[in-house]
């Protein structure tokens, strides 16, 4: 008898979620096999890279991270446009860093105005990433969901503490939510149940499993994402059959290894090459674990990852 390659028996499919509207809208999810296991199933929508843009000029970025955006880094609208026009970004994640209550704590209206300007200026889908403070995000993301009516943006992180406030507005203004849970399969599933019970449509949810950077807990994220996907695809766990987004760029670029220069420690080699590779390896790992969207910073690492996706999906 001829040898037969054993096949995984899949029983589920990841839901398809559309972000954005009009010709630039992007559809993610839809796979009925493990990531890139296209010999076993379908992966109708390839994973996507989202470029990150900050809502105010970053103060602590490495020189080599600023370099590709030096001319636009003080203006979120121009920055987003450059990502799209120069680096061919298909998605933009706007990180609302200036709203952080532990930092500048800019008021809701001011920040929401920035988001509106960016969303009005671009044609690609916008994902808006809040501060991580449950209370501030509840107010901020609600307002943003309202102001962005008709744009089908994604808002997050939505936690079990503020899912009601943000979820209700997302339903009202027809936006996508990014449901964030701390590296735990059960907590991810629980939040999805809470959101769907609240009335959030099942094709309006992305899972944020919480991401660790390479060397800083990436393996935990990896295991949890792997289990998310096993539950969704082989155990018919409907409440986990949502696309996954990993907000990985800030995690990679804040690490010590992405900050030290060659002069600080010659053994570590060239800082730019090193950081770019760290970002690319992190993103690659997350994609292999099941990410549908990875958030990235440097055009060079994005280019590596796009090549990888292209080859694996060819």
């Amino acid at each position: 008898m001829a040898f037969e390659i054993p096949r995984v028996k899949y029983t589920g499919r990841i839901r398809e979620v559309v972000i954005g509207s009009g010709p630039g809208a992007v559809k993610v999810g839809g796979a009925d096999c493990y990531p890139f296991y296209r010999f076993e199933g379908e992966m109708p929508n390839p994973p996507r890279v989202a470029f990150e843009v900050w809502d105010s000029e970053p103060q602590e970025w490495q020189e080599w991270a600023i370099e590709p955006f030096r001319d636009v880094i003080g203006d979120p609208v121009m920055w987003a446009k450059k990502c799209i026009e120069t680096y061919r970004a298909e998605l933009i994640v706007l990180q609302l860093k200036s709203a952080d209550p532990n930092g500048d704590n800019r008021p809701v209206e001011e920040v929401a105005e920035v988001v509106k300007k960016v969303s009005d200026a671009i044609q690609v889908p916008l994902l808006v990433w809040g501060t991580g403070s449950d209370d501030k995000d509840a107010d901020l993301l609600r307002r943003i969901a309202e102001l962005s009516e008709g744009k089908n943006i994604a808002v997050g992180p939505v936690s079990d503490k503020n899912y009601k406030q943000i979820g209700a507005m997302a339903i009202g203004y027809n936006q996508v939510v990014m449901a964030s849970s701390p590296i735990d399969v059960n907590l991810a599933k629980q939040l999805n149940i809470l959101l769907t019970n609240l009335g959030v449509n099942e094709d309006k949810i992305l899972i944020d499993p919480t991401t660790g950077g390479l060397g800083y807990g990436l393996e935990y994220t990896y295991s949890v994402m792997e289990r998310d996907r096993m539950a969704a695809l082989t155990q018919e766990d409907a409440k986990l059959q949502f696309p996954i987004i990993c907000n990985s760029a800030p995690e990679v670029w804040k690490t010590r290894e992405a900050r030290l220069t060659k002069d600080d420690d010659p053994r570590l080699g060239d800082e730019k090459k090193r950081s770019v590779l760290m970002e690319a390896v992190t993103a690659m790992t997350l994609l292999v674990a099941g990410a549908d969207i990875v958030v990235m910073r440097h055009p060079d690492s994005v280019s590596l990852i796009k090549d990888m996706i292209g080859e694996l999906c060819a």
């Binding site: 079990d160 399969v185 059960n186 629980q190 149940i193 809470l194």
Partner: protein, 642 residues
């Protein structure tokens, strides 16, 4: 059987049987008819007004009912008793909705005296210390054997206990004692060691008592047992329960063991648990009006750490990996090695345990449950400060312990309490008005909430959408009973004026968190143990629930909150304090006591600490009823319909 009457409730038109003397409010609760009641059934709040539309009830005028109301047939349900068939009309203000409890699934404690006697008969009535009356022939020059041998000779005619010996303490006064008694003495004999443990003047056979004690981390209970023939009536003559005095030194066993590291810490904790036990024994001796000298033996069941404290053994290695106790079985001891209290020179026996975290209390309960005699598979859950779980049948037994926390014993809950008079034990909440219907133990003024009440309360608040599936207060519902307190949101079950503590009785967010953790730990423990045995919940023949919840438990509500697996109600049995129950039977049946040792030997312990599967199951169970909807299909269906 007392005559049965038919109680018809209007306007929902539901008829329910009741017996003469039954309380009308309780009957309504059983029938699943909602009547507002917030004073626990004491006739204080005046909310349970009903109109008697046909027949009559036994009821006294109450200042909360005007003369006119009285004439129109209004009565307070909580102070009315059934005397005949009656039609009860529930006025709008007492009823508000037509809410009906879906189905009555309330199981009462099966530790009834009839069940006890049946078990004792099966194992044979043969107390651990026997009592014999002997009329000794007076010695003379021909019959000149020693006093001790004389006692032994007289005894050999009555019982087969080999060559009985006297402990030194008894021997020292023997000569004087038997002569003062004029050679007519009662001998207490412990056949296991062949010792005559006491000599008492005269015939004391008609007064032969034992004490059963359950030493829990949170509570200690004691019962006075009559060791004589079963026809004597109830086997349990008196009982008493109190918090373990050690609570002030930490709520769980780990903090108590930590305390032991202090200078004289162990001696202190030993003294405290002994004095709690002493106080309970004094109580039951006083209540039953017996002479303490007629107590021949004591049987103690407790978790392993508590047994260490009781015997004054250092438990410190229990908390250090790999968690080894000094012992789990303890030999019988007399007052010379373990002086408990003056006048009491009973022999002390204890039920053997298995491991550091599965002790004699569990072995005692498993023996009582009879699960080790049946071929069908039983899941036994003792929900105390630790949740201990045993799975198995007559061929194999697996056990495990999960640190559940004392929530269902009232620990760590703002208004939690034991199932003592005044504890709110049953609760129904109107899902629209959020007005509660409560009943207290002993129908006393509410003082707090016991375990069964907490289960009801969380289930009712959940079904009324006051609590979300993640066990947090929903912000959608509003009402006079929902407010923001010191510890976040809270639900007011009783306003201060209706209570016996002059404070509002509430359930707050921290309480909810504690209950969620406890129920999750118990359910997760069950899941892991079942998986270890390769068993599904549906393979279970029966589920036995033990613990200090209260006098009964509403199985359906325990399923709604995901404390118990979703199985048909008839598969569950509630047995209350089985640790005490097992000690009780062991006191009067040597064979049962031997059986406990067999069970202890047969059990395999599955360690859950550091078990990643347990942590994963725990997180999954931290949801109402559970993260996996497929495990609770009926509850999910009910949620959809609410």
């Amino acid at each position: 059987m007392p005559p049965e009457y038919r109680i018809k409730f209007l306007p929902i038109d539901r008829t329910y049987p009741a017996e003469k003397g039954d309380n009308l409010l309780e009957t309504a609760m059983q029938a699943g008819v909602h009547i507002n009641a917030s004073c626990g059934g004491r006739g204080v709040c005046g909310k349970c007004r009903v109109r008697i539309a046909g027949g009559s009830v036994g009821s006294l005028p109450n200042p909360l009912l005007s003369g006119n109301d009285w004439a129109m047939g209004f009565r307070l349900a909580c102070t009315s008793t059934i005397t005949e068939d009656v039609v009860v009309e529930i006025p709008f203000e007492s009823q508000v909705d037509r809410s009906i409890l879906t189905r009555s699934a309330i199981l009462s404690d099966l530790g009834s005296s009839a069940a006890n006697e049946a078990l004792a008969v099966r194992y044979g009535l043969d107390p651990l210390v026997a009592r014999y009356y002997c009329e000794l022939p007076k010695p003379d020059i021909d019959d000149n054997i020693p006093d001790a041998a004389r006692c032994a000779r007289a005894l050999s005619a009555k019982a087969d206990c080999g060559e009985p010996m006297f402990p030194l303490g008894v021997l020292r006064d023997l000569g004087m004692n038997i002569r003062e008694a004029d050679w007519n003495v009662t001998l207490d004999v412990a056949p296991d060691t062949c010792e005559i443990t006491r000599v008492t003047a005269g015939n004391r056979q008609s007064a032969h008592y034992a004490v059963a004690v359950d030493i829990g981390t949170t509570t200690v209970s004691a019962e006075l047992i009559d060791c004589r023939a079963l026809s004597a009536g109830s086997m349990v003559l008196a009982s008493s329960t109190d918090y373990n005095g050690q609570i002030s030194y930490g709520e769980d066993v780990i903090s108590r063991i930590m305390y032991c590291r202090k200078r004289r810490g162990l001696a202190k904790l030993h003294d405290i648990v002994v004095s709690t036990t002493r106080r309970l024994i004094s109580d039951i001796v006083r209540d039953a009006k017996i002479d303490i000298k007629d107590i021949t033996h004591i049987v103690i069941a407790g978790n392993t750490t508590m047994m260490h404290f009781f015997y004054g053994i250092d438990p410190k290695y229990i908390m250090l990996a790999p968690y080894i106790p000094a012992a789990t079985a303890f030999s019988p001891s007399g007052p010379e090695s373990l002086p408990l209290m003056p006048g009491l020179d009973a022999r002390v026996y204890s039920i053997p345990g298995i491991s550091s975290y599965v002790g004699g209390d569990i072995v005692s309960g498993v023996a009582l449950s009879g699960m080790a005699d049946r071929s069908g598979i039983t899941l036994f859950m003792d929900i105390g400060t630790n949740g201990e779980i045993v799975l198995g049948n007559c061929e194999w037994l697996l056990c495990s312990s999960c640190s559940a926390g004392p929530a269902f014993e009232g620990g760590g809950i703002t208004f939690g309490m034991l199932a003592a008079p005044g504890a709110i034990e049953k609760i129904h909440i109107n899902p629209f008005t959020l007005e509660p219907m409560i009943l207290t133990v002993g129908r006393a003024r509410p003082l707090g909430i016991c375990g069964s009440g907490l289960i009801d309360l969380v289930a009712e608040l959940f079904m009324a959408r006051v609590i979300d599936r993640n066990g947090k207060f929903s912000l959608e519902k509003q009402g006079p009973r929902l407010r923001r307190g010191e510890n976040g949101m809270e639900y007011v079950l009783c306003f201060a004026s209706e209570t016996g503590i002059e404070r509002d009785i509430v359930l707050n967010e921290i309480d909810l968190d504690n209950i969620m953790r406890t129920k999750a730990a118990v359910y997760a423990g069950c899941t892991v143990l079942l998986k270890s045995g390769g068993i599904e919940f549906t393979d279970l023949d029966s589920v036995i629930i033990a613990g200090g919840f209260g006098h009964s438990i509403d199985i359906e509500k325990a399923i709604i909150i995901g404390l118990l697996p979703q199985l048909p109600v008839e598969n569950f049995r509630f047995m209350g304090n089985t640790s005490l129950g097992g000690a009780r039977i062991a006191a009067v049946s040597r064979e049962f006591y031997t059986k406990t040792a067999d069970i202890a030997r047969a059990m395999t312990n599955i360690e859950l600490s550091g078990n990643t599967q347990f942590m994963n199951e725990f997180m999954a169970a931290m949801f109402l009823p559970h993260t996996d909807d497929r495990a609770f299909p009926e509850v999910i269906k009910m949620l959809g319909n609410r």
